[in-house]
């Protein structure tokens, strides 16, 4: 039987072996954490604390009135020592709260719900919202919002995304191995909240043990299906995942709810379970620190706000010659200017690339029209034309080639024999014209 998948896509070497064997561990507690007030898509939070104030672990330190937002919590117990702008991995300066860790790990009071499956959807959503949960796959969209679709968009399916199609990253993989039951519980909570009867877990087939574990965990759930997916980037992109599992295609610029689906990352499902069952806010997440340039690749249960330099140290530092550090995966992650940026809710990995793995983006050549990018674009666009038009300054014309349907997965640039920085050209064009 051939595995479920989508049309197009690429097969970069997955390099997951670097960190796949490393069980999730907790790093040495950081001396201080820098918690950005905006780690999610939507309105930034306002600080609820002031400099000098003592806070407990799990205490809310920032909230926003807006519907599309998510509160932030302290990931340590200690004292607020500064509130000002700090850089985040994506390069921008964001107002952040700096807390000095007193090392006591004193929790604020958490509200447990042992009979969580009997809560009403509204109560569950309230808990999820209060816990500050956002999509942990990278986009960091507030989860409670995703769980409140408008009435005219009925939802009938929940999909857990365990594809982890970005090369190198193994955070979701380790979670599926180590916490399969909890993840399935999270899925059940999601299904109950949305009132749907069909749940999927999609996992790329390069993680057969994770598929096995999740199947076992879901064995008694007749309406949850754990599916092995073809190993192909970007299998974990929402549109591609939904296509593979349900054969539904989200229309251009549409959302999963347009085809009756809600997608959540497996890590998010775990966070949901912990929030609903134990009242635990989202103050830590698994981060894969990996790549050929780091001494000991690890999967670390990291407090939000921990500086990346701290994690690099925890993993034995750079091997000599390390030249690039990426927050996220190699296909869509951001190269860091500085290691003194905090892990945020959306940071799934830290990739340390050695000199030999680097691409020299400036040495690109003209498009030779080989058609490779057209063949593999998962959105079925013509990346060659997008790059050529953008390069020549014809941004309006690029719209005729569906510029705004490109989700910058990078597959086209990966295969291009002329090494064209197609994603860069696409971003340039997008910034120059209105959709």
């Amino acid at each position: 039987m051939s595995l479920a998948t989508f049309k197009g896509g690429i097969h970069p070497p997955d390099r997951k072996e670097l960190s796949a064997g490393a069980a999730i561990t907790t790093p040495k507690p950081p001396e201080r954490v820098v918690i950005p007030l905006s780690q999610h898509t939507g309105a930034p939070c306002n600080p609820l604390v002031s400099v000098g104030q003592e806070v407990k672990k799990g205490e809310v330190i920032g909230t926003a009135e807006a519907f599309v937002s998510a509160p932030v919590h302290s990931s340590v117990s200690g004292k607020v020592i500064a509130i000002s702008e700090f850089p985040v991995p994506v390069g921008r300066l964001i107002p952040s709260i700096v807390i000095e860790n007193n090392g006591q790990e004193e929790w604020t009071e958490l509200k447990e719900s042992p009979d969580y499956m009997n809560l009403s959807p509204e109560e569950i959503k309230e808990k999820i919202k209060a816990a500050g949960i956002v999509g942990l796959g990278g986009a960091a969209f507030p989860t409670a919002v995703k769980l409140s679709p408008p009435k005219e968009k009925p939802i009938d399916t929940v999909i857990l995304n365990g594809a982890e199609c970005e090369p190198y990253l193994t955070a979701d993989y380790r979670l599926m191995l180590e916490k399969p039951k909890e993840i399935i519980e999270g899925l059940k909570i999601l299904m109950k909240t949305l009132g749907v009867s069909k749940g999927f877990v999609g996992i790329e087939n390069n993680k057969p043990d994770a598929v096995q574990k999740m199947k076992e965990a879901a064995a008694s759930e007749s309406n949850i299906e754990v599916c092995a997916l073809e190993v192909k980037y970007p299998q974990g992109a929402e549109k591609m995942l939904i296509k593979a599992l349900t054969d539904r295609e989200i229309p251009p610029r549409g959302l999963p709810m347009d085809v009756g689906v809600v997608v959540q990352n497996v890590g998010t499902a775990l966070a949901i379970y912990e929030a609903v069952r134990y009242g635990k806010p989202l103050i830590e997440r698994v981060v894969s620190v990996t790549g050929a340039g780091i001494n000991q690749p690890k999967n670390l249960m990291t407090k939000i706000g921990t500086l990346i330099s701290h994690l690099v140290e925890e993993c034995g530092g750079f091997k000599s010659g390390s030249a690039k550090v990426v927050a996220g995966g190699p296909m869509m992650g951001f190269a860091l200017y500085s290691l003194d940026v905090p892990v945020t809710k959306g940071t799934s990995g830290i990739l340390v690339m050695s000199e030999s793995e680097m691409v020299h983006a400036e040495d690109y050549k003209p498009c030779i029209r080989c058609g490779r990018c057209v063949d593999i674009c998962p959105m079925n666009l013509m990346p060659s034309m997008l790059s050529v038009l953008s390069e020549a300054g014809f941004y309006e014309e690029a719209k005729e080639y569906n510029l705004f349907d490109c989700f910058e997965c990078g597959s086209c640039a990966y295969v291009c024999p002329s090494k064209r920085p197609i994603v860069q050209f696409v971003r340039l064009a997008k910034s120059m014209v209105k959709p």
């Binding site: 295609e249 390390s322 190699p330 691409v359 983006a361 030779i368 959105m379 013509m382 349907d405």
Partner: protein, 343 residues
Amino acid sequence: MEAVKKERELIVSVSPHIRSEESVTKIMWTVNIALLPALFMGVYFFGLRALFVTALCIISAIASEWLVQKMAGREITISDGSAFLTGLLLGMNLPATAPFYIPIMGSFIAVAITKQLFGGLGFNIFNPALIGRAFVLITWPRAMTTWIEPTAALTGLDAKTTATPLGILKEEGLEQLLEIFGTKMNLYAELFVGHRAGSLGETSVIALLIGAGILLYKRYITWHIPFSFLGTVAVLAWVFGGKDPETGKLVLFAGDPLIHLLSGGLILGAFFMATDYVTVPTVRKGQIIFGIGCGLITMLIRLKGGYPEGVMFAILLMNCFTPLIDRNLKTKPFGFVKKKEGK
């Protein structure tokens, strides 16, 4: 602080941060290598003169590229293998007897005018090697249509001139061709091996297919253009290629597609020149149209035109249509059809 020290070593660039191993240079040199079996057969049949002509083409092509890039102050790209490829393809499309100025002029036109004047690799509209060949064919028609028997290397004697199988087929008919080659099976076999008069690198079908196999296997080319091209030629040859031996009148559905497939520059053209990325459509559907168009024009020229062979003009003509095909066959984005249905 240590972190600050490290900062200066960090390199920042836009995603993706990994790239495939494929490069233009690698592709070009692979195509060059894939052509070598056919070149070897050309030298075997037509003698060292064939090698001389090809080498002269390659050297002139590279020199032209270097010269133009130097004069224009552009980056010198002669090592990427594309000028080499243009020279090699042009050489393989010439008679082994071509006088020295033909390779030189042909390569100059191909590289300096057709390719570099349009802005270099990626910007040319026409296949450079074919323009070079068309130019020398029109300028020196006699030299370009004088063919020798494929015996030079075997006998060491000056080979006799003769016509190509397609020429004989056109002027004197199938019967004459069979008289020369004996049985039909023998004719096929000789054409397949390449033991016939023709351009020095086009004759050996088997050697060309080996090279084409390499490119297909490496996915440097796909089936779309060559197969639609060859398929169209085969169908048209079968339907319209038959003649009544007595009256010379057209007899439908009586042609011999195999002779047409195995002779002329068809195999070389279909697999190595109609697949030149730069000058053909990028979308697969467009490539099939391109291939069918090439087949149609080839057979139109072969059966009705003034030349016995039409592959070169067919590809060049279709090159003109490439922008039009590309513009009209934009891909539809993911999810597009569903959206229309929903409306």
